[in-house]
Symmetry: C2
Subunit: 142 residues, 2 copies
DNA sequence: TGACATCCAATGCGCGTGCATGTAAGGTTC
DNA sequence: GAACCTTACATGCACGCGCATTGGATGTCA
């Protein structure tokens, strides 16, 4: 079953690439143009909004967020810096472990996130519910 | 079926991200460390080796390659430049349309590709045959 | 207390990417 | 053949990423 596995695996990878590429490109484009948010930035907001419940003004440690994302420590650090500059998030030192940082959603951050959520959902539904919907190997935005 | 679709779609995306991330990171690492090839570079060689049959010394137009990859025109151009510098590929002008470039696999390129192929296959099999194999959200190389 | 390993986050650096643009070569129309 | 649009590829540029390193805070052990 060597050759057979070969073909299956290549086709499966190809399919994964297609879905990943189409979805993530459109996610990036839509989030960026409609809400001025990158994919990573949105994801951080998403995690924050879950972490303590949006009402509580989500709050989480950098390390915990990092563990939930496919992002290096340095990339997360910079993503948070961008979010902070945009006023969507606040860094707060942890009193019990001054190495660690807490991250908090600001009201503006929560608002931005809530606004972007439907966009996010719509793109996912479009590309993932009926996988054949985005069949062509559509490039990023061209 | 709103909420249900929501959950399904998020889980599916999450799963896709996991598989994509784990597979592509390991692909990148393995190809780079064992064969000094990036993922895009390998893919170009792969396409070339198919295009006219490896024995014929694969040959294809840039545009045709671009159409088969999830890569922008500029990124492909630079990837080919890297391959050319490494002596794995040759650019050749097309006599009938001097805008177009043909791309040819050199013997060294074919050799490198054949050497890397098993590595590529092994990674795909590892991550895609039994999807639960790489369950943890393993980061890139950490 | 002092020496050393470990952990968290920030930063310098290089790389590959996409977008926008530039350049050269068709193709079309008059 | 002149004016114009389109196509193929290369290149300037900015950006986000990962890796390696740094610096400060903790923990541990003698």
């Amino acid at each position: 079953m060597e050759a057979e596995t070969d073909v299956d695996v290549c086709a499966k990878w190809s399919e994964t690439l297609r879905v990943y590429h189409n979805t993530s490109c459109e996610l990036e484009n839509e989030l960026q143009s409609r809400h001025d948010l990158g994919r990573s930035e949105f994801e951080v907001l998403l995690i924050l909004s879950r972490e303590c419940g949006a009402a509580a003004g989500g709050k989480a440690k950098m390390k915990d967020i990092e563990a939930e994302m496919y992002l290096s420590q340095s990339a997360l650090s910079r993503t948070v810096t961008r979010l902070e500059k945009a006023g969507l998030v606040t860094r707060a030192a942890c009193d019990f472990d001054r190495r660690a940082n807490f991250l908090m959603l600001t009201p503006a951050g929560l608002e931005r996130f809530e606004a972007a959520k439907p966009t996010h959902r719509a793109v996912l539904v479009k590309h993932l519910v009926d996988t054949t919907a985005s069949q062509p190997a559509a490039a990023c935005s061209r």
